[in-house]
Symmetry: D2
């Protein structure tokens, strides 16, 4: 980090939701990013600090005002634009922004899939810009760093997919687990549902409540399976069950995996365990935001909330022949806005941890 990186002008479209708010927080204090525009129809005209009082200590928050989204204006002011919009809407902005020469980091699901047919199956409408699917890069920096560096359009992964892919991909690539029969059981904080006025997400409906939802075919399955299939070299179909739990932030995922070879004796357990540990070490040795736990420690969302880190721990169970892998992340940071900024850092040649440490 000897030469001081230049600064990049960035904008956020749709900055009034939870992911947008977190992008504002991260980019206000990013050492190499200059926040030049934030848009939100409902907040247009107000300063950042009027909408989000907790940022008021930052001078820019007291002067920069939300505007109505205008892609021509955005393209003039910003070099990189973050889209924190609902799926289906993001594409409408990405298309003109890309045409105007902006680089785009999209936090929605619009460009995460390579297949327009799979998009239609899971999102129930035609993809608005199928030609862009080929050039978009799936923004998981621990896996696609090189492609992200050169990308003009980054599709930042979903929160659940991040918590499932990072613990699974190395083992699949290294042939340590079978690609069939994967089960992912995930627990998410309520911010994952967004800042939407719906009775289901009222305090009294979520507090003292735990419930599964979207069983058995959640939309995030599509991008998870596409990424897993690419790593495995064969089509992968997984079981995924999300649950809503009463915390603001955090996803805890428990994965049930089948090792490729049997293990029963202590020696076999130790040998397979060493290979699993080595696989994770190879994959994440230089990864600043992946923490593979050792000893008796198990993931706990409270150890990662507020950070861009994903915690991973694993256990071999000789009773059942299964490998249990558990991960924890902050759904709004590593699961959304933090990971998007991590991609920004790669795209602009900044240190990967800039603004995230």
């Amino acid at each position: 980090m000897t030469s001081s990186p230049r600064s990049v002008r960035v904008a956020i479209v749709g900055a009034s939701g939870y992911s947008g708010e977190e992008l504002v927080r991260l980019l206000l204090r990013h050492p190499h990013a200059e926040l030049v525009a934030v848009t939100s129809r409902q907040s247009a005209g107000q300063t950042i600090s009027q909408v989000f009082p907790r940022f008021a200590t930052h001078p820019l928050a007291r002067s920069l005002r939300f505007t109505d989204p205008d892609t021509a204006a955005l393209a003039r002011e910003a070099e990189v634009v973050f889209l924190a919009l609902p799926h289906g809407v993001a594409a409408e902005y990405a298309i003109p922004l890309l045409r105007s020469g902006c680089r785009v980091i999209d936090l929605s699901a619009d460009f995460r899939l390579k297949s327009a047919a799979v998009y239609r199956e899971f999102y129930a409408h035609d993809h608005p810009a199928p030609d862009l699917l080929a050039q978009s890069v799936y923004g998981l920096p621990e896996v696609h760093a090189e492609a992200i560096r050169g990308a003009r359009l980054v599709a930042s992964p979903g929160c659940y997919p991040t918590s499932i892919l990072l613990p699974t991909l190395p083992l699949l690539r290294d042939g340590l687990i079978r690609p069939s029969g994967i089960i992912a059981d995930s627990l998410s904080g309520v911010s994952g549902a967004g800042r939407k006025a719906e009775v289901d997400y009222l305090f009294c409906e979520c507090n003292e409540s735990v419930r599964p939802y979207g069983v058995p075919k959640h939309r995030h399955l599509s991008e998870i399976e596409e990424q897993l299939s690419a790593a495995a070299g064969v089509p992968v179909v997984i079981q995924f069950t999300p649950h809503l739990i009463p915390v603001n932030r955090g996803i805890l995922t428990t994965l049930y995996l089948a090792p490729s070879r049997p293990f029963a004796t202590p020696d076999e357990v130790a040998a397979l365990g060493a290979e699993i540990a080595a696989s994770y070490a190879r994959a994440y040795v230089g990864a600043p935001f992946v923490r593979v736990l050792e000893g008796k420690a198990l993931p706990d969302t409270k150890n990662v909330v507020g950070t861009n880190v994903v915690e991973i721990a694993w256990r071999l169970d000789p009773r059942t022949g299964r490998l249990i892998v558990m991960s924890a992340e902050d759904n709004i940071l590593k699961g959304a806005s933090g990971q998007a900024v991590q991609s920004l850092n790669l795209m602009c040649g900044f240190p990967e941890t800039s603004g995230l440490a």
Copy 2:
């Protein structure tokens, strides 16, 4: 309680909110009430158990269906009708129901005041039926039991007023505190805001948050001051600050009161304390739902949530010359639906604790 009381036919108008749901729960299992109708525009056509799965073990919940509110039909079926509606709306139903001979227990603020002018000042519109204000009875059973027994229209008190009036009225009536300078600082669970789809009451907006609101002139002030004034025999103006805290249910009120006479020495403290204790004992000796704590115990909402009880404790502070009184209640039970059923019991000659123990 030697003779078995007859049963009364009851209906609930507006049964899909938190107070309405609690009325359903209480009346389904009430030994002397027969629930004959529940209305809700949004749930019309569904059975109680479809709307509220937790009641499904009760046979009636599986057969009784929500209907659109129709006062003529209600008047044919029910002898007593509970109104769990927003203020302003309740009156529209009360008027024809009373005319048809029903007795009405209204949980809204519509009939709590004697003065239509005060109603207009605090609720910002003209009272829809000012002539009914004279005949309505303020449904605080520990204070107005006799009037409630004979009432045709009971205005069940607000949640905050209940938590403030029960600890204050005896001391005021007995002249132990001065009527001026009363401060009530109240903390309420989020269910007090109702089952409304508003961003302010989303889980992530309330969890890990505490905030005052409605400062300094909350609507409940009007009924609190009217009741206190009646007890004191002089106009009483109080300071009231409500706060929203992240619990589903419960109100904790801390009252700052000025005893009528000074106390400084241990003997004076003991003498005044004995009078305060005696005042509460006189007021609540036979009251099944008021618990004045002794010894070191202080109120805690978790000891009253799920019950119709209000807990009260008090401390004299010779350093400041003040009397601190604290109360805790379940805002949906003693603060709303439980208290309404308590009035039903009085109106129908049932034991006061029927369906509430």
Copy 3:
């Protein structure tokens, strides 16, 4: 329920924990039980209402005092004794009480297994009374009602086992699922850890946190597998992962099961689904505390907390060939004290729902 059942004298040993407190609540208001003794070393000498202010409205709570546990005294006073003690300790009380002619309902794990060897494997010490294992009855009323009716020693099931066994046993008995490969992923409220002064269960350590624990070999596995094996007729080994979530009460279990025959076409899905529905209907047609959800509804702990009900829903996933079954219960009621009272009702010939509705 034509003849009025007589009343039974009951006692609770170890009544100061969460399960003990809930037993006190249930038995104080049970129409056919007379609570004659409650014991707790730490609370000896205090009345029930001093220890648990929320019961103070019940007259008996203001007069009955906690005593030190004394089996001779208990045997004189009580016909049925509930043991709400840690495992290993319960047996010390059960032995003399049974010898003195009391019937015992033990909420600990001491008598849940038939095999002393399995007990030693999972609980790390020799069983203190292996001869009693043969005569103890596993107190799951929906499965062992007949044996419970005649039992002198009932071993009330653990909270996790209840949430796993009730959804699984019918399908296993009817051969609809394979006995191998069962996965149970469970989420429990913090009361499951007991009222113990440990840093791990402090508010700030649990709030805004989700974490797995006891992976991969939790003690409850032993009783789950013993019951499943009995139903399947072959040894069953399952995968079980418990998680701690920030709610006071409630267990949500998600089960991953393999149907015995393939299903892919809509017709196959429908046919298999009909058999699953029929299996549950046969098993639980008269069961007052099992609610199999229909339509789009999924279990939610908030619909069962405060009740003795377990909610069950299931989904066939033709993409993966799996059956997903989800259950929700109150870990302290159906998972502990409520289920124990349900056994009491069977043992004494009371209606199964007495004191639980």
Copy 4:
């Protein structure tokens, strides 16, 4: 910040509690502080990242190990030592550290009072080092910045006092409120009770619960009254009621104050309001961590948790003649560790916001 400030070597004694953990977090990333030692009897021998996994991304956290506290070793290594110890214990460390030439920032109550007699009255034992009381500086940077800059011993204020003093002192100094009759009603998150294994602070005892405690004479009264008296020039006695609410962090204080002159007409309200606004502006114009809210905004702990900011809002109530002032802070940051680092910055000539923005 033209000249780059040098770095200071700092140590933390008692780093395993909530305040200590937060000091670790702040000092690990402080641009001008080098953390050279952390002590904790219970964690001695472990690295910071073993005790606090969430800091593991910081290299120093993976190498620096907790040691047993040894004042001689600390004095050799560190220039400034933070004491995050219980009151009574802190003084034992402060005395030798000061003698060895270290500067000390004490987060306990040991050196907050000027009067050893008041200390004895409120803390029930003799002060262990009364001669140090004269030289200690009360570490409220917005009030005592000059003295803190030159201090060798800073007594960092309590969490409640900070939330009460910052909103009150300017008005008192400017004669806008009367020094008598002040009431402070405070709500605190559970972290304020420390990381202590006590049943009262278990998740299930705090969740879904709100309760007052320490009524009417909490220990923090002593330092609050001493500071208020100094500002008023007359002895000030206040009413203070703390409550425990189910959040991890945050204090919300509501103050009931009596303006020095009457106000009733809109003009009088406006004139007095202008003076209050001017008083706050004068006091906090350059204060980076005090935010006086404008318009309709009221303090909300969620807007300050995670920051070193205190939010203040006020309302004049012509109905009662009172001034209501509300404040919100993070009890562990502005109420403890953040404020201590703010003092460090002043003591060392660093920008006041270093490591806190």
